[in-house]
Symmetry: C3
Subunit: 203 residues, 3 copies
């Protein structure tokens, strides 16, 4: 599988899972269908949009309408599902962790292909991974959970982005390094949730 094909499908999957989390989260705030869909679209497309604006690339979903359609259709399906069946709140955390892993590594890889230096590229990965969730939280008027003392959210993303860069610098093929780095983010995040791992905090 070529790198471009891999990034395309991983990006599409990430859009879908983040759109799902947007709807799940907006259910707590009594939003109507269109409100929930807008939160879903902002969550799904926000991180990649900020990355593309910062890198001075054309915004990915403006160039290719398919991403927007994926976000909207996942959002509508999720809305129907949530209205008919009360889902446990903790369900939210699994697709959110998957989306974080996929978006962070796609974002880092895109920045590297755009020839940004490594530290900036790793931050672009973190931005792609976390901005969607930050927008979701701001639109629902919560303190963005990524910033709170918590279970290695941005930390998992950053370590995964750095491992992607390190593995490729050490000679691993880009496609394989992408899979490994996505695994690193997902594993770190799920282990942190399971065992309540945290970083030192202020206050």
């Amino acid at each position: 599988m070529s790198m471009d094909t891999l990034l395309y499908w991983v990006g599409m999957a990430a859009v879908a899972v983040y759109a799902l989390t947007g709807v799940l989260d907006s259910a707590r705030k009594r939003m109507d269908l269109i409100g929930a869909l807008l939160v879903a679209v902002a969550t799904a497309l926000g991180g990649g949009t900020v990355r593309d604006l910062l890198l001075d690339r054309q915004v990915f979903w403006v160039v290719d309408q398919t991403y927007l359609m994926a976000a909207l259709s996942t959002g509508i399906l999720a809305f129907i599902l949530v209205r008919h069946r009360r889902l446990p709140a903790s369900l939210f955390l699994i697709p959110d962790a998957i989306g974080l892993a996929l978006f962070t590594i796609v974002g880092t890889q895109v920045a590297l292909q755009w020839h940004t230096p490594w530290l900036t590229a790793s931050l672009m990965g973190v931005i792609t991974g976390v901005v969607g969730g930050v927008l979701r939280d701001i639109l629902c008027n919560d303190v963005p959970s990524v910033f709170l003392k918590g279970e290695l959210y941005a930390t998992a993303a950053w370590l995964g982005a750095l491992s992607l860069i390190a593995l490729q610098a050490l000679g691993m093929a880009p496609v394989e390094a992408t899979w490994v780095a996505m695994g690193v983010v997902l594993l770190l995040r799920l282990l942190a949730l399971r065992f309540k791992l945290t970083l030192p905090a202020l206050g």
Copy 2:
């Protein structure tokens, strides 16, 4: 009247009414003159700014200083008015509905002229229409009202944008379609406010 002239003056009117709503809204939060003016400017220019950044166009008010002057002078006038006379809170809803109608249709038309595909163009219209109000609410630390279960806010905008696209696809002249579509948004929003029309909501 040419399309460009129409879009110019409708855009200018939209900037003025949204600047007015920014000041009316900030009155609830004990802001000073400059704070209220900054909220007015963000409300008036925010939606079109995000649209232009996403479309990779030059930002409309950076190219033409007149928009900024219109936002500032309306803001100052509104500030003086509000300080001297307590206005009923519901007054706020009329200029807000007018601004929504004008900005949504201008935003959609600009995106169509920029050759974006129809679904993306309709979302650009919604973004142009609602982002100003979202910024206003975030800056005042409220849950953005556009996302709450409410009276067809983003819904009215989206239906208007889609009707603009449909009418032109069916052969109506662009200038006429623009007037009709602005009427659609305004009428839907005012009817929804009057008769408490809502969409199905979560939770």
Copy 3:
């Protein structure tokens, strides 16, 4: 000293003091190391980023990684400091005033060099100066203090930006006008804090 050298070093100093304020502020919200660092980076780089996007320039810290390194290393140092020693909350106000003065004047000067008209250039200065702090407050879920009835925050920035433009129009050398205008912002802000100077407010 050339103008470019001056803007470079003043910009770097502004990044460092704003990163410091981001960490000091996030201490009130029980954030962990990475959360505090992300708030520090957003505070330090946010204003200049929005200015560059609006002006359609390349984003300053994407072009030159040194700014990002300065923000991160200051953030880490501040985090260690804050964890080991409880600092008085009022300490926060001094670096914040310095950062406001530096960023506002650098931002205005950059916009003038980019040939934006004077009113827009002065607003770009205000944006460069205050957006970082607004992001810091939004990420911590406060009403952005810049908008509240307060001690001449955005007002000091705007008057300083206008004085920079006026002094150069009157024939003062750009480097000297830069120093004088930074002094204007800092002095106005500190005097306002000391003597509780405020503008007329609504409500």
